[in-house]
């Protein structure tokens, strides 16, 4: 992989609702991990960090994701510098 400046910008990970409660923080900053190119791969990576993350991502079918404030799919490709948010299905209004 080429090592450009932009590749070094960290990811911002945001958690909402019960995902935030399980992880224990609302926001994490981390380098795009080696070998992680999609949302699905990021979830696998995060789930392996510790028990709190594992608990947050356990019910994966009720986890939704947005990348840079747009709804995203597990297959969505990540770039360094992205803001990645994880949350349950919305229950507004």
């Amino acid at each position: 992989m080429s090592d450009t400046a932009s590749m070094r910008e960290p990811l911002t990970i945001l958690y909402f609702a019960w995902l935030r409660e399980r992880v224990g923080v609302a926001e994490e900053i981390l380098e795009l991990p080696e070998g992680v190119t999609t949302v699905a791969e990021l979830v696998v990576y995060l789930s392996g960090l510790d028990q709190r993350h594992a608990a947050a991502f356990k019910d994966r079918k009720t986890v939704r994701c947005a990348v840079n404030q747009e709804f995203a799919d597990p297959a969505t490709v990540l770039q360094a510098g992205d803001e990645v948010a994880f949350f349950p299905p919305v229950t507004g209004g």
Binding site: K61, T62, A85, G92, G93
Partner: protein
């Protein structure tokens, strides 16, 4: 033109309607929906009676997403005015949560765009509700959306 607000405080429906219509003679109808914190469970399940509701949201995404959907409604129904106000934070049963107002030349555009916007806010906007029960416990409201539909994507 549209007014979009995500706020902790209540809203004044009459003031919002008059902000849309005052001094104009081209508006034939105003559609309106007011969402209210509901607690209809006290009799069936007193232990789950809702004492309060707390709404959390994703601010950076909310304003962008609501702005885009309001623009779509304005274009699609040729709206002459539109207001969307969504409250966040802690609210008690009976309090207002959300207001949608649309002004149009004709009633059908006002009615249809109001329904479109509130449906979208309820099912697509990044808001999450947490209910508080009499024993002090709480629970995040689960979406009605069948989990299966999204399950296959992971």
């Amino acid at each position: 033109m549209a007014k979009i607000s995500v706020q902790t405080g209540n809203f004044d429906i009459a003031a919002e309607i008059s902000r849309l219509t005052a001094g104009r003679t081209d508006i034939g109808g105003v559609g309106c929906f007011v969402g209210i914190v509901r607690d209809d469970k006290p009799r069936d399940a007193p232990a789950r009676a809702i004492q309060a509701l707390t709404l959390e949201h994703y601010p950076a995404m909310t304003l962008r997403a609501v702005g885009r959907i309001v623009e779509e409604a304005e274009r699609r129904w040729g709206l002459l005015g539109c207001t969307v106000i969504h409250r966040v934070g802690r609210m008690l049963p009976g309090e207002n949560i959300v207001l949608v107002l649309t002004a149009a030349s004709h009633r059908q555009a006002a009615l249809d765009s109001t329904a479109f916007l509130i449906d979208w806010l309820k099912t697509k906007a990044p808001f999450w509700k947490r209910e508080e029960f009499p024993d002090g416990e709480g629970a995040w409201v689960e979406a009605r959306e069948a989990d299966d539909t999204a399950a296959s994507r992971w």
